[in-house]
Subunit: 142 residues, 4 copies
């Protein structure tokens, strides 16, 4: 059975997150995904700064969102991030945004990140050794 | 041969669009897509307000972005929107973001919108008649 | 001695909050002020929705920020809001943004809000009665 | 008589600029000010990159906005920047945001920037020589 690493974080909706339809503007869900990735990083030792200190940026090369039900101002959401195991030199996350106030699933989504050398600004074609060690330590190597 | 409706709009990059990696933050491409949809709407008579005046919102239910090369502050981009014909009650756009300063393709993407009655707040299962007329007028009915 | 109502809320910095100088983009402090006002509203019963339910919007008519020291990604801040008593039909807040990671004061600021009837869309020239009652209850009437 | 340097730039309102009150969120005016400063920089040779190439950042240390009338989605604004002459080592701008669709003044505001050495990260206490030369060239030295 496969081990899935997962983190959860509550997010309060800002008034500035809403749009003239009275709900959270669709593009802001990518900020919730960012919060979810960061919470994941803190929980499992893989924050932006952890990775940067190993010599890498991990820019987003692909993202997608599927909206199921809108979020109103005053509601709170839970952002869930699950690491999606992959043999390639990528970090793939699956997300769920739950409307805590209604219990409804508000959105799902995915992001794909690659490893970019801070010095070289070149994309790594194989997983950096620090990341393989991290996967081994967490017991999630594919 | 199929007729493709297409619009183009130049966008200047704001300093506030950038992030600590020194390039445009990935989530801001959804704003460029928004600009591209709006330019399309103005060119072909299908703006947010045109649609609203017919009694509909067209919320985004799905969006995706694929990043090819980063954009720096000081660069200008061209956002291209192409309407993707569909028989279902949806508006689907394909986007290209071109880095005008380098000539490179920076990103591609898609958005899917549905028709929501302003009064009913219910999703339409078949294309509203105003939209079918619009398609007919433009000669793009699938 | 005057009673001062005050609230505090921690805020995590998002990667998307930063700009190409590597620090939080100056305009985002107005979002922190928004968080601070909302935390104040929750603590003292004066949220956006509380006010809306009484028939009023309270749009910002004036805002200012003074920056003392920058905030980096990965740092956390504390946003403090203090209600500034006034006899006029306004809600005035003083803010402090403290860099929790360094202990330094990052910024101070102010916002002024007026009361706008949800129905009339007219600005109230005297304090609405619900607000006077709220001030009396909290013991802060000027 | 004093010479005033001034620039103007049209800005289209994005749907994502609006909030649940149906108008442009107050914090977004700081983005319009940013557009206005950038247009000023392009017109008079003082862009962010011009200044950076001379070895300086010019972070905002103070900003303020006064709101006169709201802006709706679909409206266009003109952002006007006027350089406010000062003998101190600061760049001060006065702004006006005009609602082009209604002709009304929507907001006024100010920003103050200081000179920060890119290398030293220290604030300059006297105007850098490149800036004095620029002022002389433009005939606006105080």
């Amino acid at each position: 059975m496969k081990k899935i690493l997962q983190s959860e974080i509550p997010i309060k909706i800002r008034f500035s997150d809403t749009d003239a339809m009275g709900v959270v503007w669709h593009g802001n869900y990518l900020r919730f995904f960012e919060d979810a990735r960061e919470a994941f990083g803190i929980k499992f030792g893989l924050t932006y700064l952890d990775v940067y200190n190993k010599g890498f940026f991990t820019p987003i090369v692909k993202s997608s969102v599927e909206h199921k039900s809108p979020i109103n101002y005053g509601e709170e959401v839970i952002a869930i991030a699950k690491l999606h195991p992959t043999p390639s030199a990528k970090i793939i996350f699956d997300f769920e945004i739950i409307n805590k106030s209604t219990g409804k699933l508000s959105a799902t989504g995915h992001t794909t990140q690659v490893f970019l050398g801070v010095e070289t600004r070149e994309m790594e074609l194989i997983k950096p050794s620090f990341y393989v060690e991290w996967e081994n330590k967490l017991g999630i190597k594919v």
